[in-house]
Point group: none
Chain length 220, copies 2
């Protein structure tokens, strides 16, 4: 959050913090570039009327090394300014005075967009095997293990809830559908298959643990 007007910085900080964002602030362009390099923000809100350097130079300075979303704030409604800032690499341009709702919505849109880009591969590791949730791959001792759709469906839910107990009913409903909530036999068959494929000692599972009477737990 880059602005030289303390009251705006303050208002934004309060609003953003209340919504769970963590906020870094800077009051001029030089400090902004430094803070961005150190803090690696997920999105930048940049006021154009800074005391030291021109706003477009800050944009250019950021764009030199990062594609972080930049939302420009400005009191200037002249379209030439907007064009200049956007063409310099800004992602959005909001004129002051602005509605907090709108700024937050534009912020969400910017973050959402860049989240898609990152598409990080969430990988869950255990002592004996590795689950790549994005690629839908499982490796054991480096070699890839083939899973059937049902096996993968089960493992995926357990891995996404790793460390937590997942109820039998939930597993059945999410993998087989709402009508199968009581077919607990399916779980036994497929958990046995998963253990045979993944556990070092299938009969003494260490990662795919049964919680008798309740459900199953993935222990990383």
């Amino acid at each position: 959050m880059v602005d030289d007007e303390p009251q705006i910085v303050r208002a934004l900080r309060i609003n953003l913090s209340a919504r769970g964002y963590s906020v870094l602030t800077a009051h001029d362009g030089t400090a902004a570039l430094k803070a961005a390099a150190e803090g690696r923000p997920d999105v930048v809100v940049l006021d154009l009327g800074l005391p030291d350097v021109d706003g477009t130079e800050v944009i250019a300075g950021l764009r030199g090394w990062t594609s972080v979303p930049i939302i420009v704030l400005s009191a200037r409604v002249d379209s030439a300014d907007k064009v200049e800032a956007l063409d310099a690499g800004a992602d959005d341009y909001v004129t002051k005075p602005f509605g907090m709702d709108e700024l937050l919505a534009r912020l969400r849109a910017a973050v959402r967009r860049s989240a898609v880009v990152e598409g990080e591969d969430a990988v869950v590791e255990t002592a004996s095997f590795t689950v790549d949730l994005a690629a839908k791959k499982v490796r054991r001792d480096g070699v890839e293990v083939h899973l059937t759709p049902t096996e993968w469906g089960l493992l995926e839910i357990l891995a996404r809830n790793r460390g937590r107990l997942v109820a039998q009913k939930q597993l059945l409903q999410e993998v087989w559908g709402p009508a199968y909530a009581k077919e607990t036999h399916y779980l036994r068959v497929y958990l046995a298959q998963l253990r045979r494929k993944l556990e070092p000692e299938p009969s003494h599972p260490r990662h795919l643990v049964t919680e008798p009477g309740m459900g199953y737990r993935f222990e990383p």
Copy 2:
């Protein structure tokens, strides 16, 4: 370009065409969704006040299968409308009347952003063939292999998601359109053609791998 006011459509078409854009137009939401599915635009400019369906529904309809940038045009300045449209998945929101300069700058910004996403390694190599995503060309043993548009569409998605499993539904929706999500037979036919053209042993594919019941995977 989706708007029910002919004069706006006309003004935009002239301006955009003069700058080298090719423009598809639609005058209501239904036609817009159809045109987008067929024409695969690089960016969508969408007026919210359409005669048939609500604008946010058009946004939702697009977001169901594509992440194409959507710039919303609207006469409504109320911030609640902006928030609704942006949260529905729009990338930008411009209020009428708008400056053509500004709209064009926002358009450039939107296209630039999505270009960055695409700018991953443009060349994907395997042991037996090479895919050049930027040039849309495939070479095998140095010689160029001709692919039909559909074959290329499939290979492109798989190559961009190399290493990752791509669901059948996603392939069908992105290549054939949202209405074809269940025509899995198409995939079998075209994967067979791609394998025949690219794999050393088409009946034992090593790079275009089937994951039964789930989808397909490109292994570099």
